[in-house]
């Protein structure tokens, strides 16, 4: 991937393993955000092959799938200008899920994230930590295959962090492939099963503590091998 001819990275392989929490680190400007947005189908790479269930697709062909099955969470989540409950219902409404079912799934998500009390609050008036939890609930209610968190944990107080860790772990245990971009090594100890570094040279290196790399056979995870491009 490159921006205006400045080569950013050339990743050979980026595998999403269900039920695994992967930490993605790298210096400021290494391209973590860029990589995650490509994987979520939000940003067009120069070149990428997306492998889903063993079949290869171009990024463009895979984009609808990526947008549906991969969810990207911004560092500062955007809250739609409405209530917390309606924010959580947003994705379900896009799927045209019947009202009654939407309601049931939203209240389940509210309970799951401990937001019941805030259900009718204007989402814009929440604190940073509460917004994070809304964003997680809004994602989980869609049962995605992959969840990408972009430095979502910086700037939270210890308690909010613990709550967020807990929610992330629960999604991992529900077989979601979670990737967290972060500079925070404390996280690695608490959350990460796998640790990848996006190096300055623009490669993705595995720095997992002890590679228990029994290659995952879960077929549903898309293997994305984004952007390769000769630098200029």
């Amino acid at each position: 991937m490159s921006y205006s001819r400045r080569r950013l990275f050339e990743v050979e392989l980026f595998v999403f393993e269900p039920g695994t929490c992967t930490l993605l680190s790298g210096r400021n400007g290494a391209g973590k955000t860029t990589l995650l947005k490509i994987a979520a189908g939000l940003l067009k790479p120069d070149r990428a092959i997306v492998r889903i269930e063993g079949r290869d697709f171009t990024w463009r062909a895979a984009r609808p799938f990526l947008r549906h099955r991969v969810i990207y969470l911004h560092q500062f989540p955007y809250m739609f200008n409405t209530s917390v409950a309606k924010n959580i219902a947003y994705g379900l409404r896009q799927l045209r899920i019947p009202r009654a079912e939407t309601k049931a799934r939203v209240s389940q998500a509210l309970e799951w994230s401990g937001l019941e009390e805030l259900a009718e609050r204007d989402a814009r008036t929440l604190s940073g930590g509460e917004k994070q939890r809304v964003a997680l609930a809004r994602a989980r209610v869609l049962s995605p295959d992959v969840l990408l968190l972009d430095e979502s944990l910086s700037g939270l107080d210890p308690e909010a962090r613990q709550q967020t860790y807990f929610l992330i772990r629960r999604m991992v245990s529900e077989q979601v492939a979670v990737v967290v971009a972060t500079h925070d090594y404390e996280l690695l100890r608490q959350l990460g099963d796998r640790h990848l570094i996006l190096t300055d040279a623009g490669h993705l290196e595995d720095r997992s503590p002890k590679t228990t790399a029994a290659p995952s056979s879960h077929a549903r995870a898309p293997n994305i091998s984004p952007p390769r491009r000769r630098g200029q």
């Binding site: 939000l42 989540p77 739609f80 200008n81 896009q94």
Partner: protein, 232 residues
């Protein structure tokens, strides 16, 4: 001094008695300006969306051009249209000069840059993350566009009100391309100019009061909308 007082008294009398000539003029103003704003708004919104989300060469220049063209005086717009529509002009065969259509065209051109510039700054305030959040939660691009506009709906309504306020109070362009024909192209502003020059102050003052009330109401609405946008 006495003259002004009696003229004002007669003006109020005209308004209250529902003088048909007076209200016909007011009707023409509304009919022309409403048509102009209704036609201009969808195109201006499309352009503003393109300027907000598009990545194309010359985007910044185009934004600057729209901002700058808000300053083009109404008479100059009127002059240009006059030259284009006059019998020897390139569109002379359409025989549009001195018709309501010519006034509508002029007012569209006057409102357009204002609508684009205000809608663009409204959409920009919603941030790119609003758009990305909608997409990653599975919204189709069209739905995501709708979400984006809905998020900044008050600011967009404010843009439309501001555009309407500009063109209904505009005199230079209507005078030049409309021709001030009674019961056809004579609107509030051109009637005021004419009646006053004839020394018929009562009707001029009556129409002036209507215009003043309208301007104050529109500005009040505008402030209300902008206030709502901020509160969000």
């Amino acid at each position: 001094m006495n003259e002004i007082v009696t003229a004002t008294e007669r003006a109020i009398g005209l308004l209250i008695s529902g003088d048909p000539g007076l209200w016909a003029i007011i009707g023409i103003s509304f009919s022309v300006s409403l048509r102009a704003i209704l036609i201009a708004t969808p195109f201006a919104l499309a352009v503003a969306l393109l300027l907000t989300l598009g990545h194309f060469y010359g985007r910044r220049l185009l934004i600057a051009v729209f901002n700058a063209s808000m300053a083009v005086p109404a008479v100059v717009v009127g002059l240009s249209i006059y030259l284009l529509l006059s019998r020897s002009g390139p569109f002379g065969d359409l025989k549009l000069l001195f018709t309501q259509s010519a006034m509508v065209i002029g007012q569209i051109l006057l409102a357009f840059p204002l609508l684009v510039a205000m809608a663009h700054s409204a959409l920009q305030a919603a941030e790119r993350s609003a758009w990305e959040t909608a997409l990653t939660l599975g919204a189709r691009p069209w739905r995501a566009l709708f979400t984006l506009m809905y998020e900044v709906r008050f600011a967009l309504i404010a843009a439309i009100i501001a555009g309407f306020a500009r063109i209904i109070a505009e005199v230079g362009c209507s005078m030049m391309v409309g021709g001030n024909i009674l019961n056809y192209t004579r609107n509030i502003t051109t009637a005021i100019a004419l009646e006053t020059s004839k020394g018929e102050f009562a009707q001029g003052i009556a129409l002036g009061l209507v215009l003043l009330a309208l301007a104050l109401t529109l500005n009040l609405l505008l402030n209300l909308m902008q206030g709502k946008g901020e509160l969000a």
